[in-house]
Symmetry: D3
Subunit: 68 residues, 6 copies
């Protein structure tokens, strides 16, 4: 019955194929490590604007402009 | 003081009227079961693209195309 | 495929019966309003210490001591 | 290593400068109170439509129309 | 800069070794699929009591007693 | 109407006084930057075991044992 929430910044387009790989991979991880039922494993992906994500006290927009 | 977060996939439009019913119903549920103050109950609804939601290791987009 | 997260402060014990009513009620709400499949609706309840929940800039512990 | 998630309703535009202040301020708060490393502090801001946020059993859209 | 939250029900003990595998696997998944920096990838695991998790309108405690 | 969720690892005890400062500071930040109503601002603090928090593909427990 696991629930996995993956939050990533929008940097270029994240394709449907990449999202499918994240869903498949996260579900398989819970099978491999904890033997949980894949049928009832839920994965939700959130794409976040770089202005709305901060690290080190700065937005990712600013960090990228500085080459961090 | 409860906080309720409802995440649903976007399948057709979810109308303002439906959202109002979700907010009213979730708030009332906390009153009925736990006698919590409705004035300080917060409800947040997130609408998620079907590509970004997975179950059984597949996106909802793919599952719908298979008639699941 | 909805996911509902209910966060409530711990004020006295929340019984297994009350939790069951929250799960049943939240699941039914999504059926009634959006016609979503109850079998794949997930509900997660988080119980939070009153020291760890704030409103109006004060913890619930402090608010309760003031009769708010 | 803190993680801070700030959810706010969209009421007018929230500018990049305001988001930068939220990120800087939340990160500094964790330094000041708990002496946590700002470099590994993550802040994520979610902007929520007023139809999708409820309080007191009503959406913020409705509350604003009533002058609440 | 991804953030991954894994919620699982407590069914028997989840060992430190299993948690380490979840952290390593989720971080590697983001590297493999989206080429994100593992150093700034955060993983948080929440263990949830079976009374506090519902599916199909019932708690996991009840579902397990029915052999679901 | 903002909602702020602060997740921190448990490293030593986090006192009620420190939690009160986090609640007050986060609420004031939303007043200062976005002029939001402090009375309806909710803050929830989650304390997470160091085994359950990962960064750089390792748990905080392991990172601390390596002096990171």
């Amino acid at each position: 019955m696991p629930y996995v929430n993956i939050k990533v910044t929008k940097r270029g387009e994240i394709t449907s194929e990449q999202k499918a790989k994240l869903i498949k991979g996260a579900t398989q991880l819970l099978v491999d490590v904890l033997n949980r039922n894949p049928e009832s494993t839920v994965v939700v992906i959130d794409e976040v604007e770089t202005d709305n994500w901060g690290m080190g006290g700065e937005s990712i927009t600013v960090r990228q402009s500085k080459g961090k």
